[in-house]
Symmetry: C2
Subunit: 170 residues, 2 copies
């Protein structure tokens, strides 16, 4: 995974002053590296009896959709309000300034399904914790979170009930 980190670009002061943004787009330009990430995520779910993959818009889709395709599992998009056209469950959570909301179709998961939640980055854990709530509102369970990158100094995993696996930690 040394070559993965070489392809993650630090962008200072984005999206605002004082934040060092981890830009994964150079990594997406390298097909061998992208394939290796999807393979490692695939392997990380072996033996966990996962029956669905869910990911939050937008960057979560970039890893979640190929992973669902690779594992031949249903893919469930978690979206911002106003994007999913049918009935939804929604969870609102606090940000540093303001609030955010994530939604899932009420018929996306069947009761008892075992879900893996995929995202590119674990920061403060607000989105991932809200996604855990969405899954439980659908009477399904979160088997694990997979994150390409974890900003461990933000201690986001403390907010999460399900196990967390990350591949790169800062």
């Amino acid at each position: 995974m040394e070559n993965w980190t070489a392809l993650i670009r630090d962008i200072p002061d984005f999206p605002k002053k004082g934040i060092l943004f981890k830009d994964i787009t150079p990594l997406l330009l390298n097909p061998d590296c992208f394939a290796e990430i999807i393979r490692e995520m695939h392997n990380a779910l072996a033996g966990l009896n996962v029956s669905a993959i869910a990911a939050a818009e937008s960057r979560g889709f970039i890893f979640g959709a190929p992973l669902a395709h690779s594992l031949k599992l249903p893919f469930i998009p978690v979206r911002k309000p106003g994007k999913l056209p049918a009935a939804t469950h929604s969870v609102t959570y606090d940000l540093e300034y303001g609030q955010d909301t994530v939604c899932i179709h009420t018929d996306a998961l069947k009761p008892g399904q075992r879900v893996a939640l995929i995202d590119d980055l674990l920061a403060t854990g607000g989105t991932a914790a809200a996604m855990e709530k969405l899954v439980s509102m659908a009477s399904a369970s979160v088997v694990t979170h997979l994150f390409l990158i974890e900003l461990s100094f933000l201690e986001g995993r403390k907010k999460l009930a399900a196990p967390v696996k990350s591949f790169i930690s800062y």
Copy 2:
């Protein structure tokens, strides 16, 4: 592809009154169908010497990322303003009411690259035409557009310079 259309759900009056929204999320819950779509998109690019896949957030990522993974090609996310952290090209285009803007990193494409643009839906063609401009700003060329669904009565393909392939037409 008959089973594809059976998995596309009509939602009346979404996102606003008078619009019949084509909801693809049931299709994403069917792994066989999702795999068939990615395979057909893969096959549609055979012999075209495509060297990069680009797709617009968010639903474009759901098809573009697995397709890039399947073809072992670079994946380039096209995003709304304020999302891509490094230097970008951007194109603003008119909507029915107001305007929208799409962006691409200036270093995402190399001059001369042959790009396939992927999206779930061709409607009026505004986003796709703007994406053609982004690619030409990077001195690369659009080999083809692939859309899962085309709303042919909106005549979006008339706005596009590159060839258009769609799999389902309404």
